[in-house]
C-alpha cells in the first residue's frame, strides 16, 4: 500500500511514517497543504492521512474539498486537534472518510486506515458473510458456526456483522462504539469489552479454534486463530 501523510508537525509525521513503514507500507510525507495537494493530485496513493490545520494557505479541509471537486476519490483519514462533534461533522462533509482526534494511538490510526481502505472494495452486495466456518446470513439474520445455529441478540448480531465485514483487520473499541452503537462519547468503563466477551461466549465457546482475537493495546480482530 502507498500512503501520503500531510502533516506539519515533524514529530507526529515521523511517528506515523515510521509506524506505517514498519507495517510494510510505502509512505510519503508532505509538510504543508500546498505540497500535499500537489502530490495528491499528481501521484497515485491508496489513502491519504491529512491534518486538519496546515500552514501554507491550504488547510486540510480545503485540500480534501479541492481533491473531491477534481473527482479524486482516494480515501482520506482526517487528523485533528479539534474534537468537537460539529468539527467532526464538518470534516466528514468536506469529503473525509474518517476523523481521528489528536492525541491518538498508532493502533487506532492503523485500524481506521485499514477500515477506510476496505470501504471502497466491499461495496458489492453480499447476502451471506463467511469467515472460516462462521456464517452470517444478512437476510434471515441467522448465524451458524460449523453448521450449528447460534442464538444472538440483535445488537450482538450487528457487532458480529461489523467484525465480519472487517475480517482480518484490527477494529478498536472506539470504532465499535461508533459503528455498532453510534455513540460518539467516552463510556468511561470498558463496556465494549463486556459486549465482545459475551459475543465470544456464543461464537467461540465449544469450538476448537477461536475466531475473535484480542489485540493487545489496540482492540479486536475477527480471524481464525493461527
Amino acid at each position: 500500500m502507498r500512503f501520503l501523510i500531510v502533516e506539519d508537525d515533524p514529530e507526529v509525521a515521523r511517528f506515523v511514517v515510521k509506524g506505517l513503514t514498519e507495517a510494510g507500507h510505502m509512505v510519503e510525507h508532505a509538510p504543508d497543504g500546498r505540497e500535499g495537494l500537489y502530490r495528491a493530485t499528481g501521484e497515485s496513493f491508496d489513502a491519504l492521512v491529512v491534518d486538519r490545520m496546515l500552514p501554507g494557505g491550504i488547510d486540510g479541509l480545503t485540500l480534501i474539498e479541492t481533491l473531491r471537486r477534481a473527482g479524486n476519490v482516494t480515501p482520506v483519514l482526517i487528523l485533528s486537534a479539534l474534537g468537537q462533534v460539529d468539527e467532526r461533522v464538518r470534516g466528514l462533509k468536506a469529503g473525509g472518510d474518517d476523523y481521528l482526534t489528536k492525541p491518538f494511538a498508532f493502533s487506532e490510526l492503523q485500524a481506521r486506515l485499514e477500515a477506510i481502505l476496505r470501504r471502497g472494495s466491499t461495496k458489492a452486495v453480499e447476502t451471506v458473510l463467511r469467515v472460516a466456518d462462521l456464517e452470517l446470513d444478512l437476510l434471515s439474520r441467522e448465524v451458524k458456526r460449523a453448521g450449528k445455529k447460534l442464538d444472538l441478540l440483535p445488537r450482538e448480531l450487528r457487532l458480529l456483522e461489523y467484525l465480519m465485514r472487517h475480517t482480518g483487520q484490527v477494529v478498536t473499541r472506539t470504532m465499535l462504539l461508533e459503528a455498532v452503537w453510534d455513540y460518539h462519547f467516552d463510556p468511561q468503563t470498558n463496556v465494549i469489552d463486556v459486549h465482545v466477551s459475551r459475543l465470544r461466549q456464543k461464537i467461540d465457546k465449544g469450538f476448537a479454534r477461536a475466531l475473535i482475537q484480542t489485540i493487545r493495546g489496540a482492540g479486536y480482530s475477527l480471524r481464525l486463530e493461527p
Binding site: V85, W181, Y183, F185, P187, Q188, T189, V191
Partner: protein, 448 residues
Amino acid sequence: MLRSTVLRLAIGYAVLFVASALVLAGYIYWTTDRYLVRQTDKTIVAGADALLERFRNDGVAGLVRAIESRLAEEADEEEIIALVDPARRLLAGNLETAPPENASAWFDLELVRESRSSTARVLRITLSNAHQLFVGRDVQVRLEVRKVVADTLVWSIGVTAGIAILVGLLARSLLARRLARISTVADRVVLGDLSTRVPLTGSGDEFDRLSSDINVMLDRLGELMDGVRQVSNAIAHDLRTPLTRLRSRLETALKAADSPARFRATAESALQELDQVVRIFDALLRIAEIETGHQRAAFAPVDLAVIATDVAEFYQPLAEQRGLALEVEASPAACVGDRMLIAQALANLVDNAIKYSPSGGHIRVSTRRQDHDVVLVVADTGPGIPIAERDKVTQRFYRLEESRGSPGSGLGLSLVVSVAKLHGGRLELDDAQPGLMARLILPASAGA
C-alpha cells in the same frame, strides 16, 4: 458642564417652562387688553349716541348745551368731547385744539391735559351739517397698567429661568454625589476588588434600586470568579496527579531500560496514565463546549424512552457482570434535544450507578412524562449521596471521600448538569431509600 445630563435636563425644563409661561401670560394679556378696549369703545359709543340724539332734536345749539352740561355735571375725568365746525373752530368740549379732521373713524389721539401727556381713544362722527363731533376717553391709565403687567411678566419669566437653572445645578451636584458612590465601586472592581459593594441609603429610590442591582451583579460575578478559581484549582490538582504519576512512571522506565520486559510494562502503564489525562481533558472541553451553548444545532425531536432503552441495553452486560439487575421502565417521553448528549448524560448516570452499587443490587432506569416535563430517572441501591454533599457532587472534579479510590474523573455529574441546563432542564438528586435517585428533568416538547 454641559455634559451633565441633569443640567441639560434642568435647562431644557426651564426653557419649556418659560416658553409655556410666556404663551399663557401672552394670551391672558392679549384677551384682557382686548376686553378693556371693547369696554372703552362701548362707553364711547353710548356717550356719542346720547349726544347725537340731542343733535337730532335740538340742532347744533342743543348739542353744545348738552356737551357743556355733561362736562360740567359729570366728574368723569377721562371723558373727552369736542365739537368742531366746518371752519375747524372748536364750538364746545374739553380739548384745547381741534383734532385732525381727516382722521379715521376710530383713532388714537396724543394730547396734553393738565400738563401731562396722555393718549386718548377717539371716535370721529361727521354730523349732517358738516360739523365734526369727537367723542373719546383718556386711556393713559390703561396703557400704564398694560406696561406694568408686561414688565411683571418679563421679570417673572427671568426669575423662573434663574430658579430653574439653580435647581438644575443643585440637582446635578446631588446626583453627582450619588453617582460618585457607584463609580467609586466600579473603579475598585476594575482594580480587582470584587468584595466592595455600593452603600444603600435605605430610601428605596431609583438609585437605591440601581445600587442594589449592581450589588446583586457583583455577588454573581464573585460567585462565578470563585467557581472559575475553584475549577482551575481542581484542574491543577486533578491533572497534576496523573501527570505526576506519568512522570514517575517514565522515570522508572528509564531506569528499567536494561530490562526490556520491565521497560515495556512501565511504558504501557505510562500510556494508560496519559490516556486518563486526555480523557479528563476531553471531558472538560466537552462540558465547556456544552456550556457555551453552541450545541443547539443538533437539536431534534427525541424520545427519552428510546434513548433510555438503548443506553440500558448498552450497559446491561456490564451490570450483569457486576451482579446487578438493570431494569428499564420506559414510557414515552418526547422532547426536543441532542440525542447524543442526552445519551451521554444518561450513560454517566448509569455508569455511576453500576460503579457504586454493591453486587446484588438493583438499578432502575425509567422515563415518563410529567405535566410539562419529561423525566428520566436512574435509581440504584448503592450508598447514595449524603444530603450535605448533593450540591457539591455536581461541581467539577468534586468527588466524595469514599469514592476517591475508584476510577473516575469527578466530571460525570457536571456533564449531566450542563446537558440538563443546555436543554433548559435540571438534575435532581434524591434519596432512593436506600441508594441514589437521579432525576434528569427536561421540558417536554409542546403538543406531545
